[in-house]
Amino acid sequence: MHIFIIEDEQLIRQELKILLENALYQVTAPPAFASVTHVTQQVLDTAPDLVLLDINLPDISGFDICTQIRRHMDVPIIFLTSRMSPMDELNGLLKGGDDYITKPYQPPLLLARIAAVLKRTQGMASREITLFTRNDVSLDIAKCCLSRKEQNVDLTKNEMKILHLLFQHPGTFVSRMDLIEYLWENRIFIDDNTLSVHVAKLREKLKSIGVEDFIETKRGMGYRI
């Protein structure tokens, strides 16, 4: 997936590029915007899958760029802007934008909305793995259960999310903070102590299917499987 960033603030451009690259997108972010036609030409040459467009650019307006791009190609466009009046939002959508995100944005939210637009426009099936296995123990996301050989045990939503993240990073420690953040992103709003309770319950469930010491704890580092 190729994303084209049109943003004049150097810091935001650079950090946005890092953020998207970390999320495994290919990113093009030109540093200068001479004119509307020039930028449009750049976009056409690159043929990206998605354009992130700032509205307030020096001398030119993002709305004009959007109109120009729309004349030539049908690439999805997301407006990123600090303007926030309903008129601007309406204007953006009328000019052919696919989404409108106001600054300052939350990085996870931004990534989620980019993914949503890409999914909608490309019909891209999410490549999410639903079955994880490590040391005989497998986690079935679809069935929400944990199994070893023939033995099964059902998980609650919270427990499954905890294991989901751990299974995504086998062999590395996942800090408690990262775990809680991940849970919050998945709309499970719990605190540190409750996390400990859930992990203790998980250990019991693991024990019931005959697995011990599957989740390793290290003080100050977090959990590892």
Binding site: N56, Q106, S175, F189
Partner: protein, 366 residues
């Protein structure tokens, strides 16, 4: 205007007439007029004078009554000089001319101040938009660096190389977290400025549409997740209602309430956010188990600049948050009430009206 007041006003004139009458009577008597004739002459004089005074009084009273009536009817009272009834009297015309000039300068001054205020407001709004770029930059940078720091901690740990290196990495991770949190505070204060500047003219800037309360709640919880996790807050959300309102403004209001709950938290903070359907409204209940509000403070929490005993103990209150919430709620037609038990927790109720018209239209469509 009373007759006695009027007569007192004409004191000097009456005195003059009295003196003239005395002189005239003395003169007539001396020049040989009879007593009856002199009395007749004086009576005639008095009658004429009385008639003249009466007519003047009635006309003046009519004029001022009319002016009073106009003054009572117009809402911009400084425009009186334009509306005064016509008068042939020189004094009236002169006063009117002076009033006119004085008012003109007053109106000019008002325009000037209005313009200045508008300029200032526009500047504040554009400033807020400008400041959001660096805030976004800092937020993104911290988020990225935090990720990198986390990765390096893990990899260094796996290789179990150099204890010090991993220590510095983990220190910088918490530093980035702290910067992120402080940055969010800045963002929040900046938002308050923007909404304060706009609070007078909500109607210019809203877009009423069907809004899912749950989505708004999730949005503000997401936005504040670092702050909430840092403070060990748990949240329980159950609000599957939709309301007709402006999403952005409601998000701002709920965000202020959330900030307060975090600021005045106690042990094991828990937020419970629920929605209740009522006949003609949807009630959103935002409950925390924080330190609560003292009974004597409760009625004043929505006042501007009121910090209460909690605020004084806390030392960081500006008394603006809830004041703004109330103001915006009033503008949006949302009811806002608080209930609290000191030491137990606080409940804030947001009551969103549901128009029966919309319900009817919907029913008709179904």
């Amino acid at each position: 205007m009373k007759l006695t007041d009027f007569l007192r006003d004409k004191e000097m004139l009456l005195l003059l007439h009295l003196v003239c009458m005395c002189l005239a009577a003395a003169f007539l008597r001396l020049t040989g007029y009879s007593r009856t004739n002199t009395i007749l002459f004086l009576t005639l004089w008095l009658l004429l004078l009385a008639a003249w005074l009466l007519v003047t009084f009635v006309r003046r009273r009519k004029f001022f009554r009319e002016a009073q009536r106009i003054l009572g009817k117009v809402d911009q009272r400084y425009l009186l000089s334009e509306l005064l009834p016509d008068s042939i009297r020189l004094e009236d015309r002169l006063y009117r001319e002076m009033l006119h000039r004085s008012n003109k300068s007053c109106i000019e001054r008002i325009r000037q101040i209005e313009e200045k205020q508008r300029d200032y407001k526009e500047y504040i709004e554009s400033w807020v938009h400008e400041i959001k770029a660096p805030i976004t930059g800092i937020a993104l940078l911290c988020n990225n660096r935090r990720g990198i720091a986390a990765q390096s901690t893990i990899s260094q740990n796996v290789e179990s190389s150099g204890q010090t290196a991993s220590e510095t990495a983990s220190v910088s991770k918490t530093d980035y977290l702290t910067i992120s949190l402080e940055n969010q505070k800045i963002e929040n204060y900046v938002d308050m400025v923007l909404y304060y500047a706009r609070s007078e003219e909500v109607y210019k800037d809203y877009l009423i549409r069907e809004t899912s309360l749950e989505d708004v709640i999730y949005e503000i919880l997401d936005k504040n997740h670092l702050l909430l996790i840092q403070n060990h807050v748990q949240a329980d959300v159950n609000c599957q209602s939709t309301v007709y309102t402006d999403r952005k403004w409601v998000a701002f209001i709920l965000n202020q309430i959330l900030q307060n709950s975090v600021k005045y938290r106690s042990e094991n903070p828990l937020l419970r956010i629920r929605a209740k359907r009522k006949d003609n409204s949807v009630l959103c209940i935002f409950e925390d188990n924080g330190i609560g509000i003292r009974e004597e403070d409760l009625s004043r929490i929505f006042d501007k600049g009121f910090t209460g005993s909690n605020g004084r103990d806390n030392g960081r209150s500006t008394g603006m948050g809830l004041y703004l919430c109330k103001k915006l709620c009033d503008r949006l037609g949302i009811g806002l009430f608080a209930e609290s038990e000191y030491g137990v927790g606080t409940k804030l109720y947001l009551e969103f009206p549901v128009s029966s018209y919309i319900k009817d239209v919907r029913k008709a469509r179904v």
